[in-house]
């Protein structure tokens, strides 16, 4: 539960003291604006503008020389891999503020939006530094993620002449993570943790067959009148019209009669590309199911396969084929 009453009042008063504060550290670009970093950025972003990467084209452009993409602004002062470290500079007021939130139960953090403005194009050799101010802390908000507070910061970028070249604002939500974790909630309701395959509809004529599958057997219906095997099951024999039947168990051995490789549409619960085959079982009936553990390109008509019954999702058993 979120803090309330006098505790909340004291907490929010504590927050107020941070509004308007410079975070106390200056971010200084580790490298001057340079062609190599620009080229890497452009490759990653798919930006082919010649003014960024082609000196000859850039010379003919309005810039007269190579410039950096404006949206790289923040890249020039980022801390690199070191940013992932848990250690932080004790002077960092922004981190200090976050720790206060953490201590009061608002340990979740998510970035929500950012805005940028550029004063001029950066040129090769520019040296960029930035200072950040905590601009605003919102009142308590109820969000989809939980109860929390939005923190707005504004970072101002300057060059080697201490002239402003742009700014960015950044907003994060510090929030109280829901008390009931998602996993526990689904365990309680019995909802599956991942999409499941479509279930067969069950009725008199087919339920017995699926019960055999659950016991690990691939059954084939057999007419008690003429002993003809038939699949899919039906209530009456098309050969002799007998309504009496029992069943035998297949060895699961067979050969691929035809097959498909399904690529579209992708239905949740199935893995694509999905191979489905019509298999001639050695007993003489056919059975349709997946061929698994095989490269789709290696499946061919006439290929020997063996069925085994296994779980194809959290709960459903299905006879599936593998190359024999």
């Amino acid at each position: 539960m979120a803090i309330s009453g006098s505790e909340r009042e004291a907490f929010e008063k504590q927050l107020e003291a941070y509004v308007g504060l410079d975070i106390g550290l200056e971010d200084i670009g580790k490298d001057r604006v340079n062609a190599a970093m620009v080229r890497h950025w452009c490759e990653a972003m798919g930006d082919s503008c010649g003014a960024y990467t082609d000196p000859a084209l850039a010379a003919e452009s309005v810039h007269g020389e190579l410039v950096a993409p404006p949206t790289m602004l923040q890249a020039w002062i980022l801390g690199g891999v070191g940013m992932a470290s848990d250690e932080s500079d004790p002077r960092d007021k922004q981190k200090e503020l976050h720790r206060i939130f953490d201590a009061h139960g608002f340990s979740g953090v998510v970035a929500t939006n950012t805005e940028q403005e550029y004063t001029r194009y950066l040129k090769m050799g520019d040296e960029i530094r930035a200072r950040t101010v905590i601009e605003e802390i919102s009142e308590q908000k109820a969000t989809g993620l939980g109860i929390g507070y939005f923190i707005n910061t504004r970072t101002t970028f300057r060059d080697q002449n201490d002239t402003e070249v742009g700014w960015l604002t950044f907003r994060v939500l510090k929030f109280e993570i829901a008390e009931v974790p998602v996993a526990a909630e689904t365990a309680e309701t019995g909802a599956p943790s991942r999409p499941q395959r479509l279930r067969p509809a069950m009725a008199h004529d087919n339920q017995w067959w699926w019960e055999c599958v659950d016991k690990g057997e691939l059954a084939i219906q057999r007419c008690s009148g003429c002993e003809a095997l038939r699949h899919p099951p039906r209530p009456m024999c098309g050969e002799c019209q007998s309504s009496e039947w029992d069943f035998v168990f297949s060895t699961g051995q067979g050969t691929v009669h035809s097959y498909v490789v399904i690529r579209h549409p992708e239905v949740p619960g199935y893995t694509y590309p999905l191979v489905v085959a019509v298999v001639d079982l050695e007993e003489g009936t056919r059975f349709v199911s997946n061929v698994v553990d095989v490269d789709p390109g290696d499946v061919e008509i006439g290929m020997a396969v063996q069925a085994t019954i296994e779980l194809v999702d959290d709960e459903m058993k299905l006879p599936v084929f593998r190359p024999a």
Partner: protein, 389 residues
Amino acid sequence: MPTTLKDQAAIVGIGETEYSKNSGRSELSLASEACRAAIKDAGLTPADIDGMTTFTMDTSDEIEVARAVGVGDLTFYSRTPHGGGAAIGVMHQAVMAVATGSAKAVLVYRALNGRSGARYSEGVSGGPTTSDLIHWSWYMPSGLMTPASWVAMVTQRYMHETGCTSRDLAEVCLAQREHAVKNPRAFFYQKPLTLEEHQAARAIVEPLRLYDCCQETDGGSACVVVSPEMARDLPNPPAMIRSVAQAAGAHQESMTSFYRPTLTDLPEVDLVARQCWEMSGLGPEDIDAAVIYDAFSSIVLWQLESYGFCKKGQAADFIRDGALRLDGRLPTNTHGGQLSEAYVHGMNGVNEGVRLIRGTSSSQPAKNEHVLVTAGVGVPTSGMILGQI
């Protein structure tokens, strides 16, 4: 009472909505608009209509359409099942109604928001526990749930047995696209297709690639069937129905007849063909042009074989030199078909058959005495032969 359906009825009016990917209105609205257009084209008024028939899959009830269009008393109404297999089954119903005097003028219609509404490409899933759902339940757990996947299963075996290749399938698509390019109603109007584009397109369900599969369309299509006597007094040249037939084959499943001794056999199509020839007294050599149901490119090849335009297993050879094109042996799907005009469950094909007889197709062959029109494949199906009055 007639003992044959030969020349017992004629199609005198055709109508359709625009074909689009998002109609922005109800299926009932599309059905009503197509029906109104067909009645007007026939030179009749809604009060002249006394019979109506459509697909079981159509969501617009006959009496709802009747009220919308202004049709009054009905003495005949019926539904035909099995998706596109019903395309000429509904014509069979209309002809029987007219031939027996159950109705004088039957409105046949089909309308669907096939792209913006329920998309057939998304496959089958739940619903009430019927024998139909039990049937699909043999395939849902393994993910074999879409029309493309069911047809691909038979296509793979057909290619294995006959040596037909993806490039052969492409010829069906290219010939039909050539027609669609000239048809302003077609989605692919003025948009040609090359063999390279066909081969480079993504696989939907191997061995079927994108352009081997029909479109999904929002639209409606309708026609009016009356007796030959009544037809003679109406403004447009009638398309006489020389023969019309339905059939389900042995070991038939809806789209998944995978348990037949020969997987690639289509006894129901063979049986419709046999009835069409016997009833009309005609043969493949008498057919000048065709509208062959084309939910997928491969099914066009199989029907060419079943109707006897070539021997079994030799359709790829038959079409390789352009037989399906306008100057070929059998100009086929001159509207672009469902691959390239629109997918209206074959009812847009009925209308094209009528245009071919009238001589008004955007790809009109020189000779148009007799036209074959067929319906869905892999399901219980139907077909008819149209001729001049």
